[in-house]
Symmetry: C2
Subunit: 162 residues, 2 copies
């Protein structure tokens, strides 16, 4: 079953590329008492994610902060090396967006957002969505019908809901 | 059991980023009647792969061709989108190196070269190796003891064996 508005997100551990390489990031420590924006993409370096979805949050990061959002987080089922390179290439690091690797798809699968497209090499990846999370609870959720689309999950669209 | 010198490589299908996106590449069609150099890396955008292993083959690609090698192939358990971006970034495309995605680790696992390092988000990835393959048969094989090393599997080291 997929996550819905009103649900508490499961605890999860992600990997982030730190100064000394990949390191674990505990979701609880990021979310406790905070207002988060989380968006997820099917894959770093895939066309829609690189040319539309990530840029829409790089553009709007400051607007979200002005509306009281504490942290902006991008999640993808990629390894932390790829996520770090992609975070640099897209300007996400410079915009202060946390780029977190859900390499084993544990979080993505736990919230029922996984899909696979083996002919293009995507396995247990994340559907494209954006959500607002307050103290661990989902308060807004926008899931694209197709992972290849980026409309309701784009930064500007989520921003309008706040 | 791992592949050895004298073995015939199993048939396999990889994914390569073509003009219209990811497309399947049949190993048999690449290898039949040809002399190939194949090298494999644990991951696109990981430090040793990007700074040492791939560059060593970009540097030596023409030397291999001068020694009668028909095709130079890099394999990694990544998706084709990441492999294509990495192929651009490292100069592999310009050097005429085929950058093939073994996204489901089918080939890598079939030849017994898979390993996992979950704390850094690497799952069913390929050990680092380089081989010469003639008409599908392995004639030289150099496997690093640790995937983090790049000595005997480097372009220059493999070139010396020819």
């Amino acid at each position: 079953m997929s996550i819905s508005v009103g649900d508490i997100l499961p605890d999860a551990s992600f990997t982030k590329f730190g100064e000394n390489g990949p390191e674990p990031i505990d979701f609880a420590s990021l979310s406790k008492g905070k207002k988060l924006v989380i968006f997820a993409v099917p894959g770093a370096y895939t066309p829609t994610c690189s040319s539309a979805h990530m840029p829409s949050f790089v553009r709007t990061a400051d607007d979200f902060r002005a509306k009281g959002v504490d942290e902006i987080i991008c999640i993808s089922v990629n390894d932390p090396f790829v996520m770090d390179a992609w975070g640099k290439d897209t300007g996400a690091h410079d915009a202060g967006i946390h780029v977190l690797a859900d390499a084993e798809s544990k979080f993505t699968t736990a919230i029922g957002m996984d899909f696979s497209a083996p002919p293009v090499g995507l396995l247990a990846r994340s559907k494209r969505y954006a959500m607002v999370v307050e103290n661990g609870k989902v308060t807004t959720l926008q899931v694209e019908e197709s992972p290849g689309e980026c409309t309701i999950s784009a930064g500007e669209s989520l921003l309008e809901t706040l």
